[in-house]
Symmetry: C2
Amino acid sequence: MPSIDENKRKAILKAALELFSEYGFHNAPMARLADQANVGVGSVYRYFKDKNTLIETLYEEVDEALQMAIIDGVDPTHSTRKQFLHLIINLTCFLKDHPHEFKFLEQYYHSPFGIEKKREKLLLEKISDRQNPFMKLFFEGSRKEIKSLPVPLLHALAFGPVLFLLRDAMAGLVKLDEAMIIQLADGCWDAIRNRVDS
Amino acid sequence: MPSIDENKRKAILKAALELFSEYGFHNAPMARLADQANVGVGSVYRYFKDKNTLIETLYEEVDEALQMAIIDGVDPTHSTRKQFLHLIINLTCFLKDHPHEFKFLEQYYHSPFGIEKKREKLLLEKISDRQNPFMKLFFEGSRKEIKSLPVPLLHALAFGPVLFLLRDAMAGLVKLDEAMIIQLADGCWDAIRNRVDS
DNA sequence: TCTTGCGGAATGAACGTTCCGTCAAAGGTA
DNA sequence: TACCTTTGACGGAACGTTCATTCCGCAAGA
């Protein structure tokens, strides 16, 4: 019977996420991966054409989950500031609670295909900015509340601190509690908000 | 003559920096490296015990140069804000003008030994904070000007945006001009400064 | 002649991928 | 129901490649 066992597929992806995030793409041999998924090496190649395809597929899945988590519970009727803080907190909490996903994404974006992917995304966003919840905020009627800066700079000021702090947290250098996450989000907001006075 | 040719050593380190930053540690074979340095493969092992040692040595050199560049021209008699902006601008400009060094460091810190190194550094800094120019600012008499936050959070708010934006710049997604670097530094300062009013 | 730095061929390990024998289950036949 | 045939998923041995590292003969200086 030509069939694909969905459970097996999931098991392979799960093992891949764990091993890639823990040891890196280059130090997670397919043999070990198959082992951890309780599957023969050959079987992995029944589900995924090769290692690169496996990585790409995993990226799609992880990114999808992240996007969902980010917009969870954000209310478009709230103030720009409230929405922004909510988005940043969602982002931070998700990545903090899913260290495997975070480490995998970090690695992916720092690898050859990651850079390519980022370039693609950027070009697509030029066309459909409005898909991205942050883009919406940066543009929609918030012109007076948010500094008038190039978008990549706003991105950097908003996300840079989040990623930096998460890296330290993952390395065990900081304990990220709720209070600190809120202070983080406030800091990001201060960096991009238009200041009323001096 | 039992001698070490300093020129050859430099040539190997230079080739290593270029190849590692361009292709990554794993895709820069020692053979190619030796080739680019106009040196036999065997000779490389005369100067460096193995590939890991080469990477570590290169890191020490690059880090040294970076530290020097960061504090260049910073005047301790200036205001905290001025000093901070100066440090951030130095950091950004150096990394922007030395893409090989930037990519190498990024890769280093995202690799297994990088994390170890970071942990080491953090422990050392607990003892000799005052070595780090940013630490000085965060503590010395600036208590009123800078938010009272955990040090790792201040770090994240100050450096996160710089690294994020530089990554985009390296990938060719943004053109980083002087004006943008100043806006970046201002944003970082806004993120950590104590606000006088609302 | 003796020493020693040097280069590159040789070595061995690690890995991604392929290939093939095995086996369980589906389906056909009586 | 009982038996035989066919199918294709499966695992892992085997292959070929790539690479870090070693080893050895050579050549240049003392």
